[in-house]
């Protein structure tokens, strides 16, 4: 395990590289894209468990924190999806540099899936496979889900940002998130894609229609723990079925 900082002086990013525990040919790398805010905190444990399974399956794995999140530089208000996409691109470059010429898989959970999908569409020369785990398909639906649709009912910080479970949601983030639509996650230029859904939402209808146009895109629904949500009944529970399905699909 190797924790390190990468990126520029102005935009330092925290990464945690874990080498594959088995030697595979060709070399395979995976970059994990976290969700945002409180969902990131809750899901951290599941993403760590996914890393452990991936390294056992022969993947060199990099988890990283977006700028303004986790252990990376920046404040929580320094966030926007375009910037996070650049951070993910740097993470892909980083693991390429660490591992050498490897096929890279991107795995994104919730808002992280949007980042992963956008990047995969641009970097199909490097990104071999893409896993979208309960992706945010409709930005407006997501804002409703996290309680941000009704500004009047949310606490507001001194800078006028809504506070969601202790995380400021800036106007820039609201704008970026609002623009997310099913089409953002589907691109003809993508290679193999698995969308794994454990929480079925109205937006999945449209997404499934779009995804069905491509033989390379499979959408699977399964029941499991939602690791990005924590309540008194599921603290510490892991979505074992979802984790295993992702690894099985990749190997």
């Amino acid at each position: 395990m190797n924790p390190f900082y990468f990126g520029s002086t102005a935009r330092r990013l925290f990464g945690l590289y874990e080498p594959a525990s088995t030697v595979e040919t060709p070399l395979r790398g995976a970059v994990l894209c976290y969700p945002w805010g409180h969902e990131y905190l809750c899901a951290h444990r599941a993403m760590r468990q996914l890393t452990t399974r991936l390294t056992s399956a022969g993947f060199h794995t990099l988890r990283f924190d977006y700028f303004g999140s986790g252990d990376s530089g920046g404040d929580m208000t320094d966030t926007d999806l375009t910037g996070w996409e650049c951070d993910a691109a740097l993470a892909v470059d980083e693991i390429q540099e660490i591992v050498g010429h490897a096929k890279i898989t991107l795995i994104g959970l919730r808002l992280g899936a949007v980042i992963a999908a956008r990047l995969a569409a641009q970097r199909n020369d490097i990104i071999d496979k893409l896993v979208l785990w309960d992706p945010v398909i409709s930005g407006k639906e997501y804002l409703q889900q996290i309680g941000a649709a009704d500004r009047d009912s949310m606490p507001i910080d001194a800078d006028g940002n809504m506070e969601l479970y202790g995380f400021p949601l800036t106007e820039i983030m609201i704008r970026d998130i609002s623009s997310i639509q099913p089409e953002c996650l589907i691109s003809d230029s993508m290679r193999r894609v698995l969308t794994l859904v454990t929480e079925r939402l109205p937006s999945h209808e449209r997404f499934a229609q779009l995804g069905s146009r491509s033989e390379l895109h499979s959408i699977e629904f399964m029941s499991d723990v939602r690791p990005w949500i924590e309540d008194t009944t599921n603290t510490g529970h892991l979505p074992i079925g979802a984790l295993q399905r992702i690894v099985d699909w990749l190997t």
Partner: protein
Amino acid sequence: MIHKFIERPVLLGAHRSLVGIETSPVAPERQPKPALVILNTGIMHRIGHHRMFVSISRRLAQEGHATLRFDFSGIGDSPPRTDAMSPNDSALADIKEVVDWLNRERGAKGIILVGLCSGADHAMAYASTDRRVLGLILMDPTVPTTTRYYVHYVARRLVKLNNWISVLTGRSRLLRIMAEQVWWLVRSSTRTHQRVSSDLQHRAWLEKVHADCMRLSTQMLVVFSGDSVRQTYREQLIEAFPNVSFHNRLRVEHFKQSDHTFSLTNDRAKLFEVIVGWLKSMNKAPEPFVSSDSVRSELPAPAQTGVSVLR
């Protein structure tokens, strides 16, 4: 871009398996200040709820304090230990390894442990055994209940209409608890004795831990939130441990409007200011480390001089 702090990832512990982040001032202090070690809250990884441990680390670096936030074995990014230690013993062993590392590798002149909830309890338990820990910053630590606590608790519930509705509809949690207590007393079962015995043992252990910290001259800042369910009034900590002399080493703050994890930015900003102010006012100058094997019973118990209870 000018940074006001330096952050470095580190791998610590006997097996270099504990993942941590050091945050240091850009320029070393002429007079070294105690280093702060921030502990996990439950299974939350080292950044803490709402990233508060990252924010406070950076804030404290600007005040000249180095901090280290790390994950206990089996929490966050640190893999579990391979020995058969209980989770509690494992956490205490991890803290010792981190304090040893700061002493050995960074020459830290005294340690302050920081924890919220279970992290506060781990901090307190460890501090009672190691005189290198000069101070404790505890948020919502475990405090035993007192008679006055129950009076407050019941009085609070009596003034709420919803509670009366619950009583009238038979859904009152308080009534259910009271009924259970009466039932256990009437039955006078082994289970009742075990439960009472366990509570008393825990209370006695907590009292010993507090007494040991005071004998080691450990300074304490204790912050209670409005969500601290087992604590209802400011002096409860002192009244719960009548045999402990806190001297002038205890400061208690009560953030009545805050929830358990200080989720509002404004609450966290106030919390940070209290912490920074307390660190400035620590009246004990950092002392060079002594061996962690130092025996606390050799320390004389100072005379009682009073307790600061603020707000």
